[in-house]
C-alpha cells in the first residue's frame, strides 16, 4: 500500500489524481463555544471538491454538513469559530498573457467579514438554503433581492440589474419573470420561492454553489424539477455544486462524488457509483441498508443503525463510529482514531478495516 502512506504523508496532496480541484479542505476544526460546553461541530474535515462537478455531502443531522459549508463561506457566527485547519480555494484567473491559471487563496487566513471574503462570497461562491421562506427577506420584492446581489458585485445600474434579474428568473424556468420581480416572497409557492432563491444564488454566476438541503421542504414533483434545473445549470455554466442532503435518493440522482460525514469528520469520499455499489466504511453501508429502496420490489426489513448519533459535546475515544459499528475491533477502534486512507482511485476512507493508519493530529 504505497499509495496509502503517500496520501497520508502528503496531507495537501489530492485524492483525485489528474482532477482539477477547486476547493481543498484540510484538517478543518470548527467549534461552538456555548454555555453548555464546547460543541465540536467539525473535527478534522478533509476533502477535495473537483471543479465543475457535483459533490454530495451526506450524513445525519448534527454530523456537520451545514457547518462545513458555512465554514468554507466563512459565515460561521459566534459562538462558533474555525479553530484549526486550512481551506484552499483555487480561483480560476487569466494572466497578463491571456493564459488561464489557478490562484490559490487560503480562506481561513482571510477576515470573515473583510473585503476579500465579501468579494468572493455571493459572487464566486454562493449558497442556497433549505427553507426559502426564512432565507428570503419578506419585506423586499424578489427583484430587489436579486438586484442587490448584482449591484453589489457588478458595476451596473438599476435598469441593467433589473434586466439581468428578469433574465435569470427566466433561466430558472419561472413563468412571467417580469411580474415575479415585483412580487414579495409570501406571494409565491414553495417551488417558485426555491427557484427565486436559486436565481439569487446564481445572480453573479458563481464558480461554486453550496446547496444546503435545497429540496427537502419541497414536494416530489417540484423536487424533481428543481434537481433537473440544477443539473442543467451545472452543465451549461460548468458550475461546481456542493450538494448537502440527508436524502440518499437525491444524492444518487445528482452527484458525481460523495462525501459521507459522521460526527464532524468525512469518513468516506468516493465517486457516486462506488458509494452505492462498493461502500467501504461501515457507516456508509449501514446508512444504505437503513433506507427503503424504492422500486426494488423487496419488502425486506430495514436494518437500522443501532444507537443514536452522540451529542457533539461528548468526546468519544477512538473512532467516533465504533459504539454503533458492528465490525468494530476491540482494542483498536475504541482506542485509536483512524486516518484517511486511499483504497482506490478517488476513493478514500477512514476505517481500520482498510488500513492501520492512525490520525496524525490525535489527542487534542
Amino acid at each position: 500500500m504505497n499509495q496509502t502512506t503517500e496520501s497520508v504523508k502528503d496531507k495537501t496532496g489530492s485524492i483525485f489524481e489528474g482532477e482539477d480541484i477547486i476547493i481543498k479542505v484540510r484538517d478543518l476544526h470548527t467549534y461552538f463555544f456555548t454555555d453548555l460546553g464546547v460543541a465540536r461541530a467539525l473535527n478534522g474535515v478533509n476533502f477535495d471538491i473537483p471543479r465543475g462537478k457535483v459533490m454530495g455531502v451526506v450524513g445525519e443531522s448534527g454530523c456537520g454538513k451545514s457547518v462545513t459549508a458555512l465554514s468554507i463561506l466563512r459565515m460561521v457566527a459566534k459562538p462558533g469559530k474555525i479553530v484549526k485547519g486550512d481551506i484552499q480555494y483555487f480561483r480560476r484567473k487569466f494572466g497578463p498573457d491571456g493564459k488561464e491559471f489557478n490562484e490559490a487563496i487560503n480562506l481561513t487566513k482571510l477576515e470573515g467579514m473583510g473585503p476579500e471574503m465579501r468579494s468572493i462570497r455571493g459572487a464566486q461562491m454562493s449558497m442556497i438554503f433549505q427553507e426559502p421562506m426564512t432565507s428570503l427577506n419578506p419585506s423586499y420584492t424578489i427583484g430587489d433581492q436579486i438586484m442587490e446581489a448584482i449591484i453589489l458585485h457588478q458595476k451596473v445600474d438599476n435598469v441593467e440589474a433589473e434586466k439581468r434579474a428578469v433574465a435569470i428568473l427566466d433561466g430558472v424556468g419561472m413563468a412571467n419573470p417580469k411580474l415575479i420581480v415585483k412580487r414579495y416572497p409570501h406571494e409565491l409557492s414553495g417551488g417558485m420561492r426555491q427557484r427565486a432563491m436559486i436565481s439569487l444564488a446564481l445572480s453573479c454566476t458563481p464558480a461554486v454553489l453550496f446547496a444546503d438541503e435545497p429540496t427537502t421542504a419541497l414536494d416530489v414533483t417540484t423536487e424533481a424539477q428543481i434537481l433537473d434545473l440544477m443539473r442543467e445549470l451545472q452543465k451549461n455554466i460548468n458550475m461546481t455544486i456542493v450538494f448537502i442532503t440527508h436524502n440518499l435518493g437525491v444524492v444518487a440522482q445528482m452527484c458525481d462524488y460523495v462525501s459521507v460525514m459522521y460526527l464532524g469528520r468525512v469518513v468516506e469520499q468516493a465517486p457516486v457509483d462506488d458509494i452505492y455499489y462498493n461502500p467501504k466504511h461501515p457507516y456508509t453501508s449501514s446508512l444504505l441498508r437503513s433506507i427503503p429502496h424504492v422500486g426494488s420490489g423487496q419488502k425486506e426489513r430495514l436494518q437500522p443503525i443501532r444507537g443514536v448519533v452522540p451529542d457533539p459535546y461528548s468526546k468519544i475515544k477512538g473512532c467516533p463510529f465504533h459504539p454503533r459499528c458492528d465490525q468494530a475491533m476491540r482494542g483498536l477502534c475504541d482506542v485509536k482514531v483512524p486516518g484517511v486512507t486511499m483504497v482506490d482511485k478517488g476513493h478514500s476512507v477512514r476505517c481500520f478495516l482498510h488500513s492501520d493508519v492512525e490520525e496524525e493530529s490525535n489527542g487534542q
Binding site: 413563468a175 414533483t221 423536487e223 424533481a224 440522482q253 457516486v272 433506507i291 430495514l302
Partner: protein
C-alpha cells in the same frame, strides 16, 4: 366508486368504509368575518380499509391527505359523506354524525400518531403522565395498575420504563416518536392514523420507527392509515396505496400495482419523480406544467387536466369517477383503460 362495487370484498374483512367524504373550510374576510368562499380540502373521497392492512395515503402538500385522515377519526367534523367503522363489539356504525358521548365509546379504537414529535407532546407533562392520560380519561386504570401499564407500554415501544418521570425535552426525536406511539397504543386501538410519523426523523432512526410500527402491527393486529409524502417509505410499509390530488382520490390500488403499473397520469408523474437511491438508474422526471391547483378555486372537470400531458377535451368538462379498472385497482381518469403509463422503474 360506490358501495355496489365492493361486492367482491367480504364486508366482515373491512374495518372502515368512507364514502364521498367532504371537508370544506370557509374563507372568512373582513370585519364581520363574512364567508367569501370555501377551501375544499377534502372533496369527495371514497375508500375502504381492510382489517390488519396498512393503507398508504399519499399526495403533495395541500392535497388534503392530513385533513382526510383527521376527518375520518372525527378530529374534524365532515362537511358531507359517510364514515362507517366496523366496531369489534357493535358492528358497523356511522361516525359522521355521531354525538360526543357516543363517539367517546368508539374513540379508544381509533388513535393517531403525529408528524412532529416535538410539538405533539406536552412539554410540561412527564412521559408517564403523557402515556397514562388516555387510560385516566377512559378510567381504565389507576394507582399501581396504571404505573405497571405505562411501564409495559414503554417497554413495548422499546424504551426503558425508568425514564418515565422525565419530561419530553430530555429525549431525542426518535424516542419522542416512540412515546407518541406508546400513547396511541394505550387503549388497544384497532385503527391508527399515522400522520407523517417518520418524516421529521433521520434515516437511521426512521428505520427503527418503521420496524417498530411493523412489529406492533403484527403483535396487536393493528390497522394503519399511513399518511406520508415520502413515496419510498410508503412503498415499504403499505399493502395498498391511495393517491390524492386537490382533495380527491385519483387512484387506489395494491402497492405493487400502483408503483409498477399506475393507471392515473398523476400517479405516473409521482412515480417518475421519486429520487431512486441508485446512481445507475437516473431518469428524467415528467414535467408537470404550472402549479398544483388551489382547493379554493379548482379547475373544471378533472382537477389534474391543466397539467396532464394526456388531457383531451372531455377532461376539462367532465369529472372522472373513481372506477374499478382492474380487480381492486381503482382510478379516476377518463382514459385509465387506454393509457400505457410507466411505473416507478420507468
Amino acid at each position: 366508486m360506490d358501495n355496489s362495487q365492493l361486492t367482491t370484498i367480504n364486508k366482515d374483512d373491512l374495518l372502515l368504509e368512507v364514502t364521498d367524504l367532504k371537508k370544506h373550510f370557509p374563507i372568512r374576510k373582513g370585519l364581520i368575518r363574512r364567508s367569501t368562499g370555501t377551501v375544499k380540502a377534502v372533496d369527495g373521497v371514497n375508500l375502504f380499509v381492510k382489517k390488519g392492512e396498512t393503507l398508504g395515503l399519499v399526495g403533495e402538500s395541500g392535497c388534503g391527505k392530513t385533513t382526510a385522515g383527521r376527518t375520518i377519526i372525527r378530529l374534524l367534523n365532515p362537511t358531507g359523506g359517510t364514515i362507517r367503522f366496523n366496531d369489534p363489539k357493535k358492528g358497523w356504525v356511522n361516525l359522521e354524525k355521531m354525538e360526543r358521548k357516543e363517539l367517546a365509546e368508539i374513540r379508544p379504537h381509533m388513535q393517531i400518531i403525529f408528524q412532529d414529535p416535538f410539538s405533539s407532546l406536552d412539554p410540561r407533562m412527564t412521559v408517564q403522565r403523557i402515556v397514562a392520560e388516555p387510560l385516566l380519561i377512559n378510567k381504565i386504570a389507576s394507582g399501581q395498575e396504571l404505573q405497571d401499564r405505562v411501564a409495559e407500554l414503554l417497554r413495548i415501544v422499546g424504551m426503558r420504563p425508568e425514564y418515565m418521570s422525565r419530561y419530553p425535552h430530555a429525549f431525542s426525536g426518535g424516542q419522542r416518536q416512540r412515546i407518541g406511539i406508546a400513547r396511541a397504543l394505550a387503549l388497544n386501538p384497532k385503527l391508527i392514523i399515522c400522520d407523517e410519523p417518520v418524516s421529521a426523523l433521520d434515516v437511521s432512526i426512521q428505520a427503527q420507527v418503521l420496524n417498530l410500527l411493523e412489529d406492533l402491527q403484527k403483535d396487536f393486529e393493528l390497522t394503519y392509515i399511513f399518511v406520508a409524502h415520502d413515496l419510498s417509505v410508503v412503498e415499504h410499509i403499505s399493502d395498498r396505496v391511495a393517491v390524492m390530488y386537490v382533495g380527491r382520490l385519483v387512484e387506489l390500488a395494491s402497492t405493487d400495482k400502483l408503483y409498477y403499473s399506475p393507471k392515473h397520469p398523476y400517479s405516473e408523474a409521482l412515480m417518475a419523480a421519486v429520487p431512486k437511491p441508485d446512481p445507475r438508474r437516473r431518469d428524467r422526471p415528467i414535467k408537470l406544467p404550472g402549479e398544483v391547483a388551489s382547493p379554493a378555486n379548482p379547475p373544471s372537470g378533472c382537477y389534474f387536466h391543466p397539467r396532464c400531458r394526456y388531457a383531451k377535451e372531455i377532461c376539462s368538462k367532465e369529472t372522472p369517477k373513481l372506477l374499478e379498472v382492474e380487480p381492486e385497482h381503482y382510478a379516476a381518469c377518463h382514459f385509465a383503460n387506454e393509457l400505457k403509463l410507466r411505473g416507478v422503474l420507468g
